[in-house]
């Protein structure tokens, strides 16, 4: 049996399969660079073959002044200038300097090792807090304001857009867009210590009607939490996590108001079901070593069940 890891579906994400207007130019540029690089490598290898094995006449021509001018000066000047002009024209549409009118805005803040997601209205006022998952409507650009709370991270959802560093003290802007509804996985692309490789992200793209329904469903927690909520409040969970509609107001960890409806747990890395929830709560350190949430070994089986059932119910 081959050794393997099998985390949530679609993660790590495909990097050469663009699904929107802000990732297509990046993929095209990558293929053109690869093809051009291959052609130039073949020319260099041909020259090398001539230098080692070629006839004296060919060797003389290759070492002549004319060959130096053409291959050493004119060729790289023309190729690199052309590539620069074409590359800048191709990727000018990716610039977040000109943001399309009415684009949805979301602030995403990199943390070790997860993501805060703060939805904003047109005036830049915060409308909703979530974590590790971003919901967008299809067919329209979304402006991401990328920040970092601690160390440098890099936001990358390869199928929807380019890669952009998240730097403490700066706000970098990135546009993404999805052509079709679906789930698009992302990954922190700048080594940020410890379980950096387990810092995944999920974008869920909806049709406009589904997106409106999703927005309307983001209400504070309503139901009676019962034993699960009581355990959540008495075991220290609320010191780090917020569940809107309850006394849990912690800010150090991800907002859990809708944790039951997320596609993944642990920032994009595990499928979300009662089993993985119980495993994460009881011993997230075994899954994502060094993450900031301690292992909770004090719960009995029944308590773990109650807490898990409550968290899973937070849709």
């Amino acid at each position: 049996m081959t050794e393997r890891t099998l985390p949530s579906e679609g993660w790590p994400p495909a990097v050469l399969d663009p699904a929107g207007p802000y990732s297509e130019p990046v993929t095209l540029l990558a293929w053109v660079l690869l093809a051009g690089g291959t052609v130039i490598l073949a020319i260099v290898l041909g020259a090398l073959w001539i230098a080692l094995r070629g006839s004296p006449r060919l060797k003389t021509r290759l070492g002549g002044e004319k060959a130096i001018w053409i291959l050493g000066f004119a060729f790289p000047s023309v190729v690199l200038t052309g590539l620069l002009v074409w590359g800048l024209m191709l990727t000018s549409s990716l610039s977040a300097a000109r943001v399309p009118e009415g684009a949805m805005r979301v602030k995403v803040i990199g943390e070790i090792w997860w993501w805060r997601v703060h939805y904003q209205d047109g005036q830049g006022r915060e409308t909703l807090r979530d974590a590790n998952e971003l919901h967008i409507p299809i067919g329209q650009p979304v402006l991401l304001e990328l920040e970092a709370a601690d160390v440098i991270h890099s936001f990358w959802v390869p199928r929807l857009g380019g890669k952009m560093d998240m730097i403490p003290g700066r706000t970098n802007r990135l546009l993404i867009e999805a052509d079709a509804p679906g789930i698009y996985k992302g990954q922190c692309a700048e080594y940020c210590g410890g379980p950096h490789a387990l810092m995944g992200f999920v974008v869920v793209a909806h049709t406009p009607a589904d997106f409106a329904r999703w927005q309307a469903s983001r209400l504070p927690s309503q139901g009676a939490g019962g034993e699960g909520l009581a355990l959540f409040l008495s075991s220290g969970c609320a010191a780090c996590h917020t569940i809107r509609g309850t006394p849990a107001r912690g800010l150090a960890g991800p907002d859990l108001t809708h944790v039951g409806s997320r596609r993944t747990l642990g920032a994009g890395i595990l499928p979300n079901n009662p089993g993985t929830m119980a495993g994460w709560v009881a011993d997230s350190q075994a899954i994502k070593p060094a993450n900031r949430m301690p292992a909770y070994h004090q719960f009995s089986g029944e308590e773990l069940q109650a807490l898990t059932a409550y968290l899973v119910s937070l849709k």
Binding site: R4, A278, L304
Partner: protein, 121 residues
Amino acid sequence: MKGGAAISVLMLLGACAPVPVETAPADPAAVARGRDAAARLGCGACHAMPGITWPKGRVGPPLAGFGARPLIAGKLPNRAPLLAAFVTDAPAMAPGTGMPAIPMKRAEADDIAAWLLSLDD
């Protein structure tokens, strides 16, 4: 509970002394499907699983050699029908366990049981 009677009978059987060991060879296709379903559901969040390098959860027992274990959760005889019922709804089968009921299709549970019973390393 539907199927409760059958389970009771199986449990009684499990308590009787010489129960013939199931010798029917496991269906390799079911075993492979079960292994994939277990990985897809994230069973590794709690259990170290043979062949899966990550995650290696520590909340529940490692699953290597599961087919050779006499009991499920120290309580139930380790037979396919009980095991399939257990992986779907552990609290109903072993009250007090920390393993929650996990939504899955009946066929998935049967495949996962076939895979678990095939683990002899």
